[in-house]
């Protein structure tokens, strides 16, 4: 029996000119945003790859040089655009895509597209994720607000129920009918998205197809939630117009109010220092140290080495004492960085938890977090990349300091051979696995699951108690 309802609902919807126009518009926006997102991501990835190669070329072409000077010369690490970043660019525009790695400093990220964007670009930048998160739910509302309220108003609900069809069967048929109509625009988008991943992903990612499949599942759960809520409101509202008003209010709260409140509340609960404050604290601690983290004393380092090797003069040491001091300074700096950046990242993480917890008020918050996570463009994966780049910087500087320490004596002018630089491995970044992403976003998964289950319960309750006339 349900298949008849599904078929009729589908036919009824696709014959409706209003739906055809809306679906064509949303479908076109979705395909265009997917296409432009993919092209932009691929171009960005190409530019990053070219920049990475140039930076590496510069690094390897340094010629004979003191290893510590080379550490100051530094290298760039470029954050790759992951395979699904064309679907959801997340916070990439704000976090930056490259970082300069050098001795003694943990630098901020550079190349933030949002900094260079004109106001028009900022407003007009439409991603596939935005279409899926905002416009498709709006289309669902337009498709389903009159599903039951409209039938009641027109008088067809009485005739339907008089046939002996069960209320839940009717609601299920209507839900599936709306799903079939939505499939007209979502299936082509999914095919285009999958083809984009298979034919040539813009950037690396572990299991991009798995990520894509999970992402599709997340969005389907989101749409199912909206269909359920919409049908529930339609079942209980006194008229189709009232149902539309209520559902539009839900859409506004979900898409506009809740995200704004989540940002403000999370910042209020867990404030972050301003960039100037943060830099000032870092500078002070680097200059003076903090309790438990003392700045290394060059004389003490030298004295320890003399005692360790049983000699009286630095010239007699078999190693370069300056190299040892530089490395100890590096370790000191790392502790300061870990302390300050660690606290900053932890604050971001707490803000993220607040954001995820507030998804109890709006499913969009959960979906947005999961979408960015699976696209590899969220704060957590930016942190993952930043940690990998910082670890590379520390390993590189330690190795260069080791070269200086092991291959020269204190006071000696030492120039490493030109081929040393190519022996230093280039920076290589492995994006985290899907399981890592989902584990990190377990709270959002739970929230989305609760919304889906809640929508099912609410629609069941509402439809069973819906007025017939």
């Amino acid at each position: 029996m349900i298949r008849h309802i599904v078929r009729k609902e589908f036919m009824d919807v696709v014959r409706d000119g209003r739906f055809r126009w809306c679906a064509a518009l949303v479908g076109a926006l979705l395909l265009v945003s997917l296409g432009t997102g993919w092209v932009q991501a691929r171009n960005a990835q190409k530019e990053l790859a070219a920049a990475q190669a140039t930076a590496r070329d510069h690094w390897e072409s340094q010629g004979e040089k003191n290893p510590h000077s080379a550490a100051h010369y530094g290298v760039y690490a470029f954050k790759p655009r992951l395979a699904l970043s064309f679907v959801d660019e997340g916070v990439d525009s704000y976090t930056g895509t490259s970082v300069f790695l050098e001795a003694h400093r943990q630098n901020d990220f550079l190349l933030r597209p949002a900094q260079d964007a004109t106001p028009a670009q900022r407003i007009g930048a439409l991603t596939a994720a935005q279409v899926l998160q905002h416009l498709v739910p709006l289309l669902i509302i337009l498709l389903t607000f009159g599903a039951l309220a409209g039938e009641r108003e027109r008088g067809t609900l009485r005739q339907l129920l008089a046939t002996g069809v069960g209320r839940l069967e009717l609601a299920m048929g209507k839900a599936l009918g709306a799903t079939a109509a939505l499939a007209l625009l979502l299936v082509p988008a999914a095919v285009v998205g999958a083809a984009a991943i298979v034919m040539g992903s813009p950037g690396p990612a572990t299991s991009p197809l798995v990520r894509g499949a999970v992402l599709a599942g997340i969005y389907l759960a989101y749409f199912a939630t909206f269909i359920g809520l919409s049908l529930a409101v339609s079942a209980r509202a006194p008229s189709a117009r009232a149902a539309l008003v209520v559902l539009l209010a839900i859409w506004v709260v979900n898409g506009l109010v809740a995200p704004r409140v989540a940002v403000d509340l999370s910042k209020w609960l867990y404030p972050t220092p301003s960039a100037i404050e943060f830099a000032h604290t870092l500078e002070q601690e680097m200059a003076n140290g903090v309790e438990g983290v003392d700045r290394p004393d060059r004389a003490a380092v030298t004295q320890n080495l003399l005692a360790q090797y049983g000699v009286e003069r630095t010239e007699d040491l078999p190693i370069n004492a300056i190299g040892v001091f530089l490395q100890e300074s590096e370790v000191f700096g790392d502790q300061i960085f870990d302390r300050n950046y660690g606290a900053l990242w932890d604050t971001f993480k707490r803000q993220g938890y607040v954001h995820e917890a507030l998804a109890v008020t709006a499913p969009l918050l959960a979906v947005r977090t999961l979408s960015m996570g699976l696209a590899g463009t969220d704060v957590e994966q930016h942190r993952h990349f930043a940690a990998a780049a910082e670890q590379y910087r520390r390993d590189l500087v330690e190795r260069l300091n080791g070269e200086l320490t092991e291959n020269s004596r204190t006071g000696e002018v030492y120039l490493a051979s030109a081929d040393l630089w190519s022996q230093m491995p280039p920076f290589r970044y492995d994006a985290p696995e899907v399981s890592w992403v989902l584990k990190n976003r377990a709270l959002s998964l739970l929230m989305l699951g609760l919304w889906l289950a809640g929508a099912f319960v609410v629609v069941t309750y509402a439809v069973r108690r819906a007025e017939v006339a």
Binding site: K8, M11, R15, Q159, L161, G166, V468
Partner: protein, 268 residues
């Protein structure tokens, strides 16, 4: 009907007072099992008693017309048989099934034509019929048979494939009847089905009801139309303030009698 309450039940033009539980069908000695039966059926909305202790039986091949002014409880009675409303007390039965206990199963025996048959504007008459017939359990009816049914219901052949948005009320009513025919239901519930129809369409409608009656269908029709009730019905019940105040067989009264009895009850 409430305990101890009595109702005037009239047979032909002679006024009788009988116990409320004794309907005309009982007194007439009806032996066949009723298709539709109300047993002390009551429905109350807050302070308003919409139906009060209704006892009613409609057997196969009977057309029972419920007469009464607006608010008399006719539509509520039909909605109680359809399970759209839960009775406050008493019960409605269809082919022996308690509607409140088995709402879906009882509806398999019912067809319903409201005052305004509302159909899906984007679908044709044939598609509407196919849809409602399928939901009513007649999924396998071929298109030819569905077209034939629409013809039986009086819909012009050239309108079968037209979208319903272009249909007149009369055409929609015919599709409504076609839905009932396709379902092959044991009982047909009609709520003011001829309201707003022109005389010709009303006559065609009456002829269709006759055909259904001849096939053994039990018909319960709520109407304001005394003439139609007398012409079409086999029995007539008059409702007022939720109560069945009079019941009579139509072949024993004239139009004038029915009108007089009706007006008497309205002015009591």
């Amino acid at each position: 009907m409430e305990s101890g309450q009595e109702s005037r039940i009239e047979n032909t033009s002679e006024v009788q007072t009988v116990d409320a539980s004794e309907t005309l069908a009982d007194s007439a000695g009806a032996t066949t099992a009723p298709v539709l039966e109300a047993r002390s059926l009551s429905k109350r909305y807050d302070d308003v008693e919409a139906v009060v202790g209704l006892d009613l039986r409609v057997g196969p091949s009977e057309i029972y017309c419920l007469l009464g002014p607006n608010g008399a409880g006719k539509t509520t009675t039909i909605h109680l048989f359809l399970g759209f409303l839960e009775p406050t007390s008493g019960s409605a039965h269809v082919m022996g099934l308690d509607v409140a206990e088995e709402p879906l199963k009882s509806k398999t025996h019912l067809a319903y034509v409201p005052e305004q048959v509302m159909l899906y504007r984007n679908l044709s008459g044939l598609e509407n019929l196919a849809y409602f017939a399928a939901l009513g359990g007649k999924e396998s009816l071929p298109t030819d048979r569905l077209t034939e049914i629409l013809g039986e219901a009086g819909l012009q052949a050239d309108a079968v494939h037209s979208r319903v948005s272009a249909y007149s009320k009369g055409m929609r009513q015919k599709v409504g009847i076609a839905i009932a025919i396709a379902k092959e239901a044991d009982a047909l519930l009609l709520d003011e089905p001829t309201s707003g129809l022109d005389p010709e369409a009303s006559n065609e409608f009456s002829e269709l009801l006759e055909q259904l009656k001849d096939r053994g269908v039990a018909v319960l029709m709520a109407t304001h139309d005394l003439f139609r009730a007398k012409e079409t019905g086999t029995r007539v019940g008059i409702m007022r303030h939720g109560r069945l105040v009079a019941e009579m067989t139509t072949d024993e009264i004239g139009h004038a009698d029915l009108e007089r009895i009706y007006l008497e009850h309205m002015h009591d």
